[in-house]
């Protein structure tokens, strides 16, 4: 079956532009996570959805970052007025449930470069 997919795979934005990153989780997966991975670092948690409910957004670095999952499947991470420090790989992961026994399946990531 298909895994988690993300689009676009690469995005170059001029400073100040808005961007939207899409994540298609594995069908039937309840939980969806967004991470930001800067160069040379591990992934850092941004936000988490259980179905359509955004249960935790404590990792979003500023109010320029916004995420939604309106129908409980596809999710979009939007970054407004991009800054150079937003350059990173943005990873999406989904899992069947929310307990500690559920494995997270990662997408390939979207590499965002802000010039």
């Amino acid at each position: 079956g298909a895994g988690v997919s993300q689009s676009p795979r690469y995005k170059v934005a001029k400073r100040g532009q808005d961007v939207a990153l899409r994540c298609d989780p594995i069908s039937g997966h309840v939980s969806l996570f967004w991470y930001q991975q800067a160069l040379g670092q591990g992934p850092e948690f941004l936000t988490y959805f259980q179905n359509e409910a955004q249960l935790d957004k404590s990792g979003l670095p500023s109010d320029r970052f916004f995420a939604e999952r309106p129908e409980g499947s596809v999710s979009t991470l939007k970054i407004q007025r991009t800054q150079q420090e937003d350059s990173a790989v943005y990873l999406c992961a989904s899992s069947l449930g929310s307990g500690r026994s559920y494995e997270q399946y990662f997408g390939p990531g979207t590499r965002l470069t802000v010039t």
Binding site: G42, F45, Y48, Q50, L55, S98, G99, R100, P108
Partner: protein
């Protein structure tokens, strides 16, 4: 606050040599620890978790609460083990999910 430390950015060994990738953590509760791996041009994937107490691809990791460590070991490295390895600690988030805090990763290179 929880923290995961991987002291080595790069570990370079020869095929057949033993490998130990270090991971130390700080967490006030009962930790749930994982190792994730990312092979070249592939996505991040779970390698093993401490509660499973399993060996995957010859790798094992033992949780040492006294030393707050979860080192990843393999007795005989193979070239196909070359990859980026991330140690992660799960914390309980709102809604009951478990969100990993990742270390910065260790790049393992196994030379022929």
């Amino acid at each position: 606050a929880q923290r995961v430390t991987q002291p080595e950015k790069l570990l370079s060994v020869f095929k057949g040599a033993p490998v130990e990738l270090k991971c130390n953590y700080s967490y006030s509760g009962s930790p749930e620890l994982f190792w994730y791996v990312q092979y070249s041009r592939q996505r991040l994937q779970l390698l093993l978790r401490h509660i499973s107490r399993e060996s995957i691809k010859g790798f094992t990791a033992d949780l040492n609460k006294g030393e707050t460590s979860f080192h990843l070991k393999k007795p005989f490295a193979q070239e196909e083990d070359s990859a980026m390895y991330y140690c992660a600690l799960s914390q309980v988030a709102s809604g009951g999910s478990y969100i990993p805090t990742f270390g910065r990763g260790t790049s393992l290179i196994v030379h022929p």
